[in-house]
């Protein structure tokens, strides 16, 4: 029986690693005792008492490996094995044992100078400062944070523009860069269509639709919701358009936004006119028939994808419109026939802000005013966002609902509660709902929703934004929704058009 020990000065491994190494040493042939502990006086005393560490001197922050075994060779082999195990760095999720992750943008840049994009998600007060650091290191930036003052946004965007870099954001929730989804984004195959989007869920609807139509996306560049304001002047959208024009993999460009400020719209139009790449636009709320210049204007989000795919495949870009045709009418007529006289109203409960906006526009264009917490022009603001009146379409992802709560795309609990509330209202004739799939969104979008829909007296029309490649699997989500009686539309605009059809027939009773 012999013993041996080794002291590793100032070595820190977490307890799991220390225990794992101890038990590995014990399993070695010829080893009868093994201890890997911090060399505190109490532990050293114990080791010495046990005859494992004669003559050991160490300080409390040292690590001591002590073994006892059949002979010197076994002990030496065990100590060598310990040295090897201590030197090991786990390849992936080694927790505290892994290499310290970079704690600043500069540190990351020093480790890998080829980095050229920083994703920033810190409280809004600090986001601009972090973005400027990244820009000065030659990186483009995606700022997930919101609540960045306009003046700071302008400063950051100008600094980037001077260096031929782009700022995606602030408040940029969605981008797909070189095929990699960032933030809330869907699994979309790569292809010839480049997207520049000021709206996160709008970009998701367009890119997911492109994928479902069998085409693909080269890049989806987010700009943040304020980019097309007069103050910012569309700096990021204009740069995104230039980059996509120069990108050999992009043959069609889609712009997604609410209507830009007129001066910005003029700049965007002028730039589009000078591009060899055709440009499709969906400016939600603008009349596509009034679009000027070289831009192919779409009437809704999904239609912009349809037009872009047609152009990419060499077909003419013809707008299909949103008429509810014969086949679609039967189940909608059934809803109307089953409605009691008191059931008169459409209640839209959305997790995607742009879906809420677009649904209001579609209903508005068909003569229906709705109340909302985020009303479009012509609609009225709810006095109490918790209480629906008449036709109501709410965005559960807006600040009024998300203070201190996760966004409903991450945790649909609040959205489901609101749906249950609407379902219990005897005046509700129809629920209008979106389900947003993809990275960033909840992996379980349905369990609460299905509970409501199965109990719900009023019918439900649901739009599922996502692709077959998304981690939540669009097909099984759609099937589950249909199994509990919901009508599932192909697009958000179609869902809203269906709702408008039902509302029209209910009003005519």
């Amino acid at each position: 029986m012999t013993a041996a020990h080794v002291v590793v000065a100032n070595a820190y491994r977490d307890s799991v690693a220390l225990l794992a190494i101890s038990s590995k040493l014990l399993s070695l042939h010829g080893i009868s005792a093994a201890s890997v502990v911090m060399a505190t006086p109490a532990n050293v005393d114990n080791l010495v008492d046990a005859g494992l560490a004669d003559g050991l001197t160490a300080s409390p922050s040292d690590l001591v490996v002590a073994v006892a075994g059949a002979d010197g060779a076994a002990c030496e082999a065990a100590l060598a094995a310990a040295a090897e195990l201590l030197a090991e760095r786990p390849a992936d999720d080694g927790g505290a044992v892994a290499e310290h992750p970079p704690s600043s943008i500069q540190m990351a840049a020093m480790r890998d100078p080829s980095l050229n994009l920083a994703l920033i998600s810190v409280p809004g007060d600090y986001a601009a400062a972090e973005a400027l650091k990244a820009i000065k290191l030659g990186m483009s930036v995606m700022i997930f944070s919101d609540n960045v003052p306009v003046q700071r946004e302008l400063e950051v965007k100008r600094a980037a523009d001077e260096r031929d870099l782009i700022v995606m954001g602030p408040d940029c929730g969605t981008a797909i860069v070189n095929g990699i989804p960032l933030g809330f984004a869907n699994a979309v195959r790569r292809g010839p269509i480049g997207v520049v989007g000021a709206s996160g869920t709008g970009t998701q609807e367009v890119t997911a639709r492109i994928h479902e139509l069998g085409c693909g996306v080269s890049q989806a560049i987010g700009t943040g919701g304020h980019d097309l304001s007069e103050a910012i002047g569309g700096i990021s959208m204009l740069r995104g358009m230039r980059w996509l024009e120069d990108d050999p993999d992009t043959t069609v460009v889609v712009l997604v936004s609410k209507p830009p400020h007129p001066t910005v719209a003029a700049a965007v139009l002028a730039q589009a006119a000078g591009m060899s790449t055709p440009v499709v636009s969906i400016f939600l709320g603008a009349d596509p028939d009034e679009a000027a210049g070289e831009i192919v204007a779409a009437g809704n989000l999904a239609e912009s994808a349809d037009l872009a795919v047609a152009l990419a495949e060499g077909r003419p870009a013809v707008r299909a419109g949103l008429d509810v045709d014969g086949d679609a009418r039967a189940p909608l007529d059934a809803i109307v026939d089953a409605a009691t006289p008191r059931q008169r109203f459409v209640r839209g409960v959305f997790s995607g802000g742009t879906f809420c906006f677009e649904a209001q526009l579609v209903l508005r264009a068909r003569g229906f005013e709705a109340w909302s917490n985020t009303p479009v022009a012509g609609n009225a603001t709810l006095a109490d966002i918790a209480t629906s009146v008449e036709h109501t379409i709410v965005d559960m992802g807006d600040d009024g609902f998300t203070q201190g709560r996760p966004h409903p795309m991450i945790d649909p609990g609040l959205r489901d509660e609101r749906l249950a509330q609407e379902a219990a209202d005897p005046t509700t004739a129809l629920l209008l709902v979106d389900v947003v799939l993809g990275y960033g969104s909840t992996m379980d979008p349905l369990s609460g929703l299905v509970g409501v829909l199965e109990r719900a007296q009023p019918a439900a029309i649901v739009h599922v934004c996502g692709t077959a490649a998304d981690p939540q699997d669009r097909a099984s989500v759609v099937e589950r929704l249909r199994s509990c009686g919901a009508l599932v539309a192909e697009t958000n605009a179609e869902a809203a058009a269906w709702a408008a059809y039902v509302a029209t027939r209910l009003a005519a009773r």
Binding site: S15, L18, L19, S22, M38, T40, A42, S61
Partner: protein, 147 residues
């Protein structure tokens, strides 16, 4: 730990000091087991001791503070914070549940504590247990005196 508990109960400062000296830095782990138990004990004594018995924490805290050179830097830091009244969220939740929660809440909080670290959570729970017994005994003693 049991010896320390008895020494605290009879306010035997000398014995408390020698028990702490042998516990600090004792055992496996980056934060040795003895240190974890002391953190658990300190948390209970500071948060749950009846108003009449702040002396429990006052007796133990300074003794621990004197022995910090006997353990590794990281663990010494945890002990230093614990002496100053700062412990992990899970331990705080457990103390709160023990003070004002139901049995189920206390059980769930204890399970959370045990789940932390490799053995640190279980070691801390040993200290918590010891502390709860001390606090209960002290409260019973106070009642006897009052009667």
């Amino acid at each position: 730990v049991l010896e320390l508990e008895h020494a605290l109960a009879r306010r035997d400062a000398e014995c408390v000091a020698s028990c702490v000296a042998s516990l600090v830095g004792l055992g496996p782990g980056l934060t040795p087991s003895g240190d974890d138990a002391l953190v658990g004990l300190l948390a209970v004594l500071q948060r749950l001791a009846p108003a009449g018995a702040p002396w429990l924490a006052q007796l133990l805290g300074p003794v621990v503070a004197c022995q910090l050179d006997r353990t590794a830097d990281i663990s010494a830091h945890y002990l230093r914070l614990a002496v100053a009244g700062h412990v992990g969220e899970r331990l705080i939740a457990l103390c709160d549940a023990l003070a004002a929660g139901t049995d189920d809440e206390a059980q769930a909080a204890a399970a959370d504590v045990v789940a932390s670290g490799a053995t640190s959570g279980a070691d801390a729970l040993l200290g918590v247990l010891s502390g709860v017994r001390l606090v209960a005994a002290t409260a019973a003693g106070d009642q006897a005196v009052a009667a």
